[in-house]
Amino acid sequence: MSAVIEIKDIKKIYKMGDVEVPALDGVSLAINKGEMVAIIGPSGSGKSTLMNIIGCLDTPTSGTYILDGLDVSKMSDDEQAVVRNKKIGFVFQQFNLLPRTRAVDQVELPLVYSGASDRKQKALTALQSVGLGERTHHRPTELSGGQQQRVAIARALVTNPSILLADEPTGNLDSKAGREVIAIFQRLNKESGITIILVTHEPAIAAHTQRVISIRDGRIYANERVAKPKDATHELTVYDTNGGGH
């Protein structure tokens, strides 16, 4: 298996007036293609900073980050934007959908910025793959939390990125919707082999991944394989006696 993410000795230091605050103090890790990985840590541990760097939203103060063979650690803002567009799919805790915009238009937006053709078709396909083929023209106010997050996942997938980066994706969802989202991630990971990185502070969520990277005080202190990842789809059928989906 080849490494899709190679991070070597990344440091991120913020300057607050005279004081230097190291958010990341020498982090190294590698993630292979097709892995589903969790990055876990309490708040203030630096996991958000690490996630921002992995997602090319920020550049490290020192160290290297190689994404899919490209050294992105010293790229310009515009170059990073292109990388975010083509190689990374984001899923946020707060969904971050555009207000008053239809689902199909939300999902096609990354393709608009990349100048791709056949956008509508690709957007519809992506929406179908997350089970929202019936709601392509709904706006966020007409969708439940779980559905909104699924729109966000479809948007993250539409450019066929190398990695899917999810920051507390179930944080704003009830337990059933949350399980559905994790189930979608696991299915995508298994069926299309897309590399998934879940950033979370909940061990229960992390238990659904194949490897858990633990971070604290700006440093990685554990990097362990999960012996038996939990199966969210299975949990849905066992724990949810309502039957019938949203």
Binding site: N52, A81, N96, V112, Y113
Partner: protein, 411 residues
Amino acid sequence: MIIWQSVRIALQSIGANKLRSGLTMLGIIIGVMSVIAMLSIGRGMQNTVTAQISSIGTNLLFIRPGGTQQGGVRQQESAATLTLSDAEALASVPNVTSVAPEVDGFGQVAYLANNAVGRVIGVTPAYQDAMNANLASGDWVTAANVTTRAAVVILGSQIATNLFDAADPIGQTVRINGQNFRVIGVMAAKGGSGFNNTDTQIYVPITTAASRLTGNNRFRGGDVVNTINVRITDTSVQDSVVQDIGDVLRERHHITLQQDDFTIQSQQDILNTLNSITDGFTIFLGGLAGISLIVGGIGIMNIMLVSVTERTREIGIRKAIGARKRDILIQFLTEAMVLSLVGGLIGLAFGAMIARVISGINIGTTTLQTVVDVDAVMLAILFSLGVGLFFGIYPANRAASLHPIDALRYE
């Protein structure tokens, strides 16, 4: 790349918040509306003046006594330098169709209890053709009238109405400066304004004017006239005729080129001067109105700034999924320009409506005309787009410069 998308997004955003968009555009709407209305008044005025002047014909020269400047010393305007014989001599200059000398004064005309004041023009028979003086009824001054110094008068249409209402003035006797005159004709109404307005003038034989109204009883060859009007065949020969007239007059007055004691002015020159005056006036009016357009632009900038702040999160999302700085810049710039263009078009419509309403309103003796022409429309549209561009750049740049992480965190 995504200009069309940006326009769509801009329209969506504008429609989503109609009240805010409407209030933003208000400044531009009022600005463009005023500009269009002002320009239309200016242009209408110009057209009216031009038409009035052209109705007499542009192939007309006016010779007045007094040179403009002589050898560095400003010549005092001496009234005694153009004579009736000068006028007679000019009739044989090539390309001259008719020569009409005149003697001017002011008079009070009274009929029964009615009263009017107007310019009194002492004329010859040639005046009618030379000046396109159209009669509504009656006859013009004849050669016999001139020889006998007849006390006859032709009334301007406004004067006739003031004195006689609807009654027929022909044959009636009026008193001009206390002296009796018989009305032999009434001028056709011309409308318009300015002191060249024939409606408020009265015409008497030139000899009568000189003797009765200015006290010169022996008006003849050597006697002074105020103006000599010369109708020429065509404006194309204007320069050569002016040359020839100058030669004749200088020879008669025994002076050289440097010592001109007369001024020749053409209708065309007057037209050009008036046009440049009205142009200036129009630009001035337009400029004033343009100030409100600037204010409108400031309004747009303010609202765009607010809009950018409100949509900080949205900008962060767009950047996270791959929008580059220029994508965001184009989006917000397009919004600003669409806002101002739409505002401009609405203002244009209102401005045209105002112009239509104003047209036909009478102020004093003038009827306001308005003309909305293509130049004004193009100016208004380009200006609105320009305002949108100029005042939209700062907010758009602020939006484009937002850092995605901070923007995403914004509540």
